[in-house]
């Protein structure tokens, strides 16, 4: 793998994470428990769409084959998407979606912090912008986890079950493969083992505050980063890509 291939692959993973999560969040529009949460969800989803656009554009420039942000988003197939499995899981109820945000954003915040310091200039600049957004997303998801965990008996039980269910998808965030290793080595990229420690510290703290129990690290599912997805991604993409696929070459 050349140095350019490494950074393109790395950038596309980040872009796919942002887009797939945004698409799931967009599905929740007009179904939130409070009007204030409608505003928050739409606002955060807009941040992720914005990040996906910057990242795809950057990948396209590095690749130099004229692919646009929409080419990456709308005309690639399931196996070409490299997002984390956690992010493509269906929304479930408010607690399920919230736990997904919490686990991902706690990780993403540290990852972006690492990326700001990397030598891949484009990614470093995008990360510096994105981290400002993700800081307040993460504050929001952490606060909600505490409210639900330490709210009523019902909310405590529900969000504990959400946490238990989502936990199996967290291992993938820290499993460094050849792209992670090469990006770290060649571009002074984030160290996933170090991030795992920081993530664990932060998650433990918020989970304790929420009076919840940290699940055991049993079997972890992975494969999203290598393009081996759950059955859910195909439906997400079929819906998202429908117009571009039915009107090939049209502009919108």
């Amino acid at each position: 793998m050349t140095s350019d291939e490494t950074r393109i692959a790395y950038t596309l993973r980040l872009a796919d994470n942002a887009l797939v999560l945004a698409q799931r969040m967009v599905e929740m529009v007009a179904a939130e428990p409070e009007l204030e949460e409608e505003l928050a969800n739409a606002n955060f989803a807009l941040d992720y769409i914005g990040q996906a656009r910057m990242l795809y554009t950057h990948a396209g420039q590095l690749e130099g084959k004229g692919r646009s942000e929409d080419d990456f988003a709308f005309v690639r197939d399931e196996h070409e998407f490299r997002n984390l499995l956690l992010l493509e899981q269906p929304n479930g109820h408010f607690g399920d979606a919230l736990v997904r945000q919490f686990l991902f954003e706690t990780w993403y915040l540290h990852l972006l912090d690492g990326l700001i310091a990397c030598s891949e200039r484009g990614l470093s600049e995008i990360a510096a912008r994105a981290i400002k957004e993700v800081k307040y997303h993460s504050r929001h998801s952490s606060q909600w986890l505490v409210r639900l965990g330490d709210g009523t008996e019902l909310s405590h039980e529900r969000v504990q079950a959400s946490l238990d269910d989502a936990w199996r998808y967290t291992g993938e965030m820290f499993a460094a493969d050849e792209i992670d290793v090469a990006f770290q080595r060649e571009f002074d990229g984030p160290d996933l083992a170090a991030i795992h420690k920081l993530w664990r510290r932060d998650v433990e703290k918020t989970v304790a505050e929420a009076t919840l129990r940290l699940p055991d690290d049993d079997w972890m599912l992975s494969g999203g980063k290598q393009g081996r997805h759950s059955e859910h991604l195909g439906f997400l993409l079929a819906e998202m890509q429908y117009l571009q696929r039915s009107f090939p070459g049209a502009t919108w």
């Binding site: 428990p33 009007l35 505003l39 606002n43 996906a52 656009r53 117009l243 919108w252």
Partner: protein, 328 residues
């Protein structure tokens, strides 16, 4: 997005305690173009009219998120997805300011939401039509937001201060939405034949419901005269509808698509377009709850509310615990 509820709703009762002197002094303030503020004395019927109108407007914003939200997951480009999401978010924001403006008149948001969910409160009938293609998103921005702006710009000068001020911000955002909608239509009309056909189909379906947004003809409008006297309303339904037709017909010509009205004709003498008869029975049916999507829209809103019960209860329980911890 918008309210057409301006003239819809129950008849107001005038409270017996209001004296002729109070009413005359109030009207004098209105005539002098003074703004009425939340703590000022006002006739009960004025207050009720505003509560009804502002809450219907707020509900319209909230329900209006659904037909457009229907295309968020399928928007054809990332840029269009972001623009549409920002628009839907604006609508949630408008709902929030408008509920707040109505709360200044002594009614709680919880009560207004309960009235929406029970079916007691109305919202704009336009949102009971389905969005069947991407072009509908363009047509809604162009026509529905276009009609909304015509209705709402005069509301920035409404006699009730909190509503007028909320409308200043709402109108700025609506104007942006309208331009975005027209831009979607323009892209489709300059695109492939299939895209242009999609745009024409959307205009065919949205034209007449958009004209209905201005409410009944002036001769049939039950609340108009009093609302005009109170300067809640500045122009009649028919005046605004005519203005909308005159502007929009020319825009359709620019797009190269046809307005679905065989009777549409420019009257050289007046400079206005004459247009065909509106199907008022359809309007009455939709208002009565029998439009294509009335049931679907309310069901979705009720489901979202019910599904959120445990979350709101948890947030309240947590806040109570925190307060108790601070007090201890």
């Amino acid at each position: 997005m918008y309210t057409q509820g301006l003239d819809q709703g129950g008849r107001d009762q005038q409270a017996a305690v209001e004296t002729a002197e109070q009413l005359a002094a109030f009207q004098k303030r209105i005539d002098a173009e003074e703004k009425i503020e939340a703590k000022d004395w006002m006739p009960e019927a004025y207050r009720r009219t505003l509560v009804r109108q502002i809450s219907q407007h707020a509900h319209s914003e909230i329900i209006g998120m659904q037909p457009e939200g229907n295309w968020l997951t399928r928007a054809p480009s990332l840029k269009r997805k972001a623009i549409l999401l920002a628009k839907v978010q604006d609508e949630a924001g408008h709902g929030l300011y408008l509920y707040s403006a109505a709360e200044t008149l002594g009614v709680s948001r919880d009560q207004m939401v309960a009235d929406l969910l029970s079916g007691k409160a109305k919202y704009s009938s336009i949102f009971n039509y389905p969005t069947l293609s991407w072009a509908d998103i363009g047509a809604i921005g162009w026509l529905v937001d276009g009609a909304a702006i015509m209705n709402q710009i005069p509301l920035c000068r409404c006699s009730y201060g909190p509503y007028a001020r909320a409308m200043v911000r709402v109108c700025k955002e609506e104007s942006f939405h309208q331009r975005q909608g027209f831009d979607i239509m323009l892209n489709l009309c300059r695109g492939t034949d299939r895209q242009k056909a999609m745009a024409q189909d959307a205009l065919n379906r949205w034209w007449w419901p958009s004209l209905m947004m201005f409410g009944p003809n002036d001769s049939e409008s039950t609340h108009s005269a009093q609302s005009m006297a109170w300067k809640i309303k500045r122009f009649s339904n028919d005046e605004l509808r005519q203005k909308f037709v005159d502007v929009t017909v020319q825009q359709a010509a620019f797009l190269g698509i046809s307005v679905p009205d065989d009777d549409l004709k420019l009257d050289e003498a007046s400079g206005h377009y004459n247009y065909g008869e509106i199907d008022w029975q359809e309007f009455i049916d939709v208002i009565a709850g029998n439009g294509p999507c009335n049931q679907q829209r309310l069901d979705k809103r009720r489901r979202a509310h019910d599904d959120g019960d445990w979350v709101r209860e948890a947030a309240q329980a947590y806040a109570n615990k925190q307060a108790a911890r601070v007090a201890a």
